[in-house]
């Protein structure tokens, strides 16, 4: 190699010490050549010495040389061996060198970061928040929306519904005969399961227990692609068999994980069932809290449920046959459904029509928009975080331009300087990311707690490693890009100018100023969007919280007492049971009132149906109202005021004249009561087309369809006149309602050891639960808004503080020339607010455009409320003004002479 392409540094006649001091490594090629020459020299020296010694001993020169070589051995082999040793040493050495210099860089970076503790802390906090929050939300989005369902080839699973042509987005369950025809006439599905959920009372071997079961018709294991823990899952053989596959949790809890459970009989609702298998704990087919999966005998042996085409109650899950798309399956099924509509016009929706919905869509469709909004919000937070880190690093790099220039002048190569800057960015990102990890974990835990009631599968969500890596990389990349800017300048040779001009490189300062202003604009705009969204949700949530549920929820224990319909078949027995039960509970110390209802405010009512109002036009469409049975104590226990007439009494029993209590809305809308509710009293209504019921009271409106929904007409009818075996208990207590549960259970057990009291919960907790989803979204968005605001404030403060430092001399001149401090203050703050105004303008436009996505999440709130927008904009500007006021005051307070003298 004649052409020495080594680094120019190699050719400089520098002493080794200097080279080492400035860590100027020689190139590898060059090093190898040096080593070869050294080895040759060393061997030559040895041979010469030996030859000299042999000649001194009297050998002639030729012989001495030959003898020396003989004693030495193969010269080239020795040289090779030496060289390979020294090459290995060189490699080890440069590796060690590199490790040492990386360590040194990192140490140096840490020292540099420690020198500016405030900026570093701000950057670290920013990074930690950005990485933590984004990772937590991303993990949830991934876990809920993206992660495959726990079924084999889950993307081949679809849910089938009837969807009548006039309302295609309706999802109507399927009747038994319809499903039978679907299965017989389609080829698009390799397996199908129709199912319905049911509550069973499990008796024998322990306390009676209410269990949730899925009754399944079809091959469960083959359809879903799951494997039972032991035994098998229900399949086509079990159409008419009382068999059951237990869930793992129930199997462990109640049967001590007995491995020989298969084949055993258990009693449910007084019927014997045979256990055929146990399903793993990860199996949640039919709902998150299903305890077991039974055969379909209960349905198919029942002439009503199993035979009527109009009884639409089954859900259907199907596996698409190989090669069939969901669209093709939908076309085939749609054709079948139209055919059926022609064959059975009286029992079908006009024209037929179906919906084939991917199973995941079915399970998470409701939460997808909410999660995506949160994802977008947290993305904004991450962007703001990146902008902030860019700020901080830019400020640092500018402050250190001179230092870097000096280092370069002293002989640190540009690669070395660049590496230093990169190392600093990476150290910062690594530290921030590391701080973000526990934050992400805490975030996922908090999300799981916060959203457990409103987001499916949330308990299974884990911090996603990829999400963590992704966000950390995003932030690190920002750091790198920003950190590289001065390094690139260094490479272009501007460094000399930097040394001359100090930190006041004029044009560069201006360019940086523009970059920083752009960053402020972006931060302000993004946080404004976030804050407007958060403010809208908070306002809506406040209004939701302020909704009067129509009853007093505190101090009330609720629970379901579900008597076995087989054991309490006769209405008389049902009446006796609940009369006795409420009397016993009312006698418990600390109980103030007891009521029964088959409804559960604020979001559950048993049924809605048509009513006929006496005197109204019989031929028009009958109005639909919510119908629920309540006992005499219900209104008192919930403190629902009866505004006119009376509540039920014990006298409203079987055989007595049928009566009803209606709510205000019913009285006004359907009975024309207007302002005088008593005008509704004495009117007669029919809910079954046979018996007239007299309205004896008007109760205050109670929410039964959720706090957000408007109250619909409701009619109550007396439990005693139309009893039912499963009723909710409402127990108003003097103290903590949850403490009363034990006594209530004991009372129930004393009455009937097989009467389960389940789903116990204080009523106020149920009210809270009913607004869990808006609370989840609101809390998170408010949190993100707060974080965004904090980050934006830090950003604005940083920019202004930097600008003030840059213009110290100018301030000094102004003050020296007689400007008043107030003028200087105004100048600085005004200048600082310019990009903020721009950001606000852009942000307002963005928020107005983006708020549409919130429409479906807000209650009684317009996403265009100008007040909210104005308030948020003012808040941002005010906070930004404050953030710029502090450094501006420092500038105005500066001693003009000192500012002029100082560099």
């Amino acid at each position: 190699m004649t052409n020495d392409r080594g680094h120019p540094w190699d050719r400089l006649p520098l002493p080794e010490g200097v080279r080492r001091a400035f860590r100027l490594a020689v190139g590898p090629r060059r090093a190898l050549k040096d080593a070869a020459r050294d080895v040759d020299d060393e061997i030559a020296f040895h041979l010469a010495m030996r030859e000299q010694k042999l000649r001194a001993a009297g050998l002639p020169p030729e012989a001495a040389r030959a003898a020396a070589r003989r004693r030495f051995g193969d010269v080239s082999r020795v040289a090779d061996a030496c060289l390979s040793e020294s090459a290995a040493r060189g490699r080890e050495h440069s590796r060690a060198e590199l490790a040492a210099s990386v360590r040194q860089d990192a140490r140096f970076a840490l020292r540099a970061l420690r020198r500016t503790p405030l900026a570093t802390a701000a950057a670290l906090l920013t990074l930690a928040l950005g990485v933590g929050a984004t990772t937590a939300i991303f993990s949830v989005v991934y876990g809920v929306l993206v992660r495959p369902l726990p079924y084999r080839d889950a993307d081949r699973l679809v849910q089938l519904w009837e969807a009548p042509a006039p309302a295609r987005d309706q999802r109507i369950p399927v009747s038994v005969p319809t499903f039978r025809d679907w299965r017989a006439r389609t080829r698009s599905f390799s397996h199908t399961v129709a199912y319905a959920t049911n509550l069973f009372t499990l008796t024998g071997g322990g306390t009676p227990e209410q269990v949730r079961a899925v009754m399944a018709w079809g091959d469960v294991a083959a359809t879903l692609g799951v494997r039972p823990l032991i035994g098998r899952a229900p399949d086509r053989r079990d159409e008419r068999e009382d068999v059951v596959a237990l869930g793992e949790a129930l199997w462990r809890r109640r049967y001590g994980a007995d491995p020989r459970i298969v084949g055993r009989g258990i009693a449910m609702n007084g019927r014997p069932f045979t256990v055929i298998g146990v399903m793993p704990a990860s199996f949640h087919f039919g709902g998150p809290d299903i305890d077991m999966w039974t055969g379909y005998a209960q349905i198919l042996t029942d002439p009503v449920w199993g035979g009527q085409r109009g009884r639409r109650f089954q859900r259907v899950v199907a596996r698409l046959a190989p090669g069939v798309t969901a669209a093709a399956a939908a076309r085939e099924l749609d054709a079948v459904s139209r055919q059926l509509a022609r064959e059975y016009p009286e029992a079908s929706s006009p024209g037929g029509g179906v919906a084939v919905v991917p199973l995941r869509e079915q399970l998470v469709g409701d939460v997808r928009p909410a999660l995506l909004v949160l994802f977008g919000a947290v993305g904004c937070v991450l962007l703001i975080a990146c902008a902030n880190v860019a700020h901080l690093l830019l400020a640092r790099a500018t402050a250190r331009e001179r230092e870097l220039a000096v280092r370069a002048a002293l002989g640190a190569g540009r690669r070395r300087v660049a590496r230093q800057l990169l190392t600093e960015s990476l150290v910062l990102s690594a530290l921030g990311g590391a701080l973000g990890v526990p934050l992400a974990y805490a975030g996922v835990r908090a999300l799981a707690r916060l959203g457990a009631d409103s987001v499916p599968n949330l308990d299974a969500v884990r911090v996603d490693g990829w999400a963590l890596a992704f966000t950390a990389a995003a932030v690190a990349l920002t750091g790198l890009l920003v950190g590289l800017a001065p390094a690139v300048r260094a490479a272009r040779g501007d460094l000399a100018a930097s040394v001359r001009d100090g930190a006041r490189g004029a044009s560069q300062g201006r360019r940086q100023g523009r970059v920083r202003a752009a960053l402020v604009v972006a931060e302000v705009a993004l946080s404004l969007v976030l804050l407007v969204g958060a403010a809208l949700l908070v306002r809506s949530y406040q209004r939701l919280r302020a909704v009067d549920p129509g009853f007093a929820p505190d101090g009330v224990l609720t629970a379901l007492a579900a008597a076995s319909p087989n054991k309490y078949r006769e209405p008389e027995r049902q009446r006796a049971l609940f009369t006795e039960l409420t009397e016993r509970i009312a006698a418990l110390p600390g109980v103030r009132a007891v009521g029964l209802c088959d409804c559960m405010p604020p979001d559950r009512v048993r049924q809605s149906g048509s009513v006929l109002v006496e005197g109204a036009d019989r031929n028009g469409d009958l109005p639909t109202v919510e119908q629920t049975r309540a006992d005499a104590g219900y209104f008192a226990a919930l403190r629902v005021p009866v505004l006119a007439g009376r509540a039920f009494t014990g006298a409203d029993r079987a055989g007595a004249p049928p009566v009803a209590v209606v709510n205000e809305t019913f009285a006004r809308r359907l009975l024309g009561a207007g302002a005088d509710l008593s005008r509704a009293l004495g009117r007669r209504i029919q809910m079954d087309g046979v018996n007239w019921m007299t309205v004896v009271g008007v109760a205050r409106d109670v929410h039964y369809a959720g706090l957000a929904a408007p109250v619909e007409p409701v009619m109550y009818y007396p439990f005693l006149q139309d009893p039912f075996p499963g009723m909710y208990l409402f127990v108003r207590t003097a103290g903590e309602p949850a403490r009363m549960l034990g006594a209530v259970r004991r009372a129930a057990r004393a009455l009937d050891p097989e009467l389960p009291v389940t789903q116990a919960s204080p009523l106020d907790a149920r009210v809270e639960e009913s607004i869990a989803a808006p609370r989840f979204q609101t809390t998170l968005l408010a949190l993100f808004g707060a974080v965004a605001l904090a980050l934006a404030v830090v950003g604005v403060y940083g920019v202004v503080a930097y600008g003030v430092a840059q213009r110290k001399r100018e301030m000094g001149v102004r003050l020296a020339l007689g400007a008043r401090r107030g003028d200087v203050l105004r100048l600085v703050v005004g200048g600082a607010l310019r990009p903020v105004w721009v950001g606000v303008a852009i942000g307002l436009a963005g928020a107005a455009a983006g708020a549409r996505v919130l429409t479906r999440f807000v209650y009684d709130t317009s996403v265009r409320e100008p007040g909210t927008y104005a308030a948020v904009a003012l808040l941002l500007v005010g906070v930004a003004a404050l953030a710029s006021y502090l450094p501006a005051r420092r500038a105005a307070a500066a001693d003009p002479v000192g500012a002029l003298r100082g560099d």
Partner: protein, 135 residues
């Protein structure tokens, strides 16, 4: 390093054996070199002279073997090398014992002595047939 390995024929019945032999030779040579440097920095030729004299030409069959060993010791950090001027005013590479090298020598010497003495004692015991005795 590879060049030091004796050529292996395909019929070599026990290649591992020759490796371990090589290791024994190598580490014994290393130890003797370290010993040679306890008297202060020496260039390779001086080390060779001392080793030949001290071992009676047993260890160094070819003087060239010494140099890969010296480089190996340098790589291990037991010796350092520096170019200097020899007693007859020629440029020569001088090796100096490092503290690590000294520690290595101190640690290995008793082991070697014990082994060597043990082996020597064992080999001196007269065999019944009188065969296999060292010459």
């Amino acid at each position: 390093m590879q060049s030091m390995r004796p050529p292996k024929s395909t019929t070599d019945p026990a290649p591992d054996m020759s490796d371990s032999e090589l290791n024994v030779l190598r580490s014994s040579l290393d130890l003797v070199i370290l010993k040679a440097l306890t008297w202060g920095p020496r260039h390779g030729y001086a080390v060779a002279e001392w080793v030949e004299e001290a071992t009676g030409d047993v260890l160094l069959l070819e003087e060239g073997t010494l140099y890969p060993a010296l480089h190996r010791l340098e790589r291990k950090g037991w010796v350092t090398a520096e170019w200097g001027v020899s007693e007859n005013n020629r440029r020569a590479k001088f090796y100096r014992l490092t503290p690590d090298g000294r520690a290595q020598l101190r640690a290995e010497t008793p082991t070697w002595l014990r082994h060597a003495e043990g082996i020597a004692r064992a080999l001196r015991i007269a065999s019944p047939e009188g065969a296999g005795e060292a010459a």
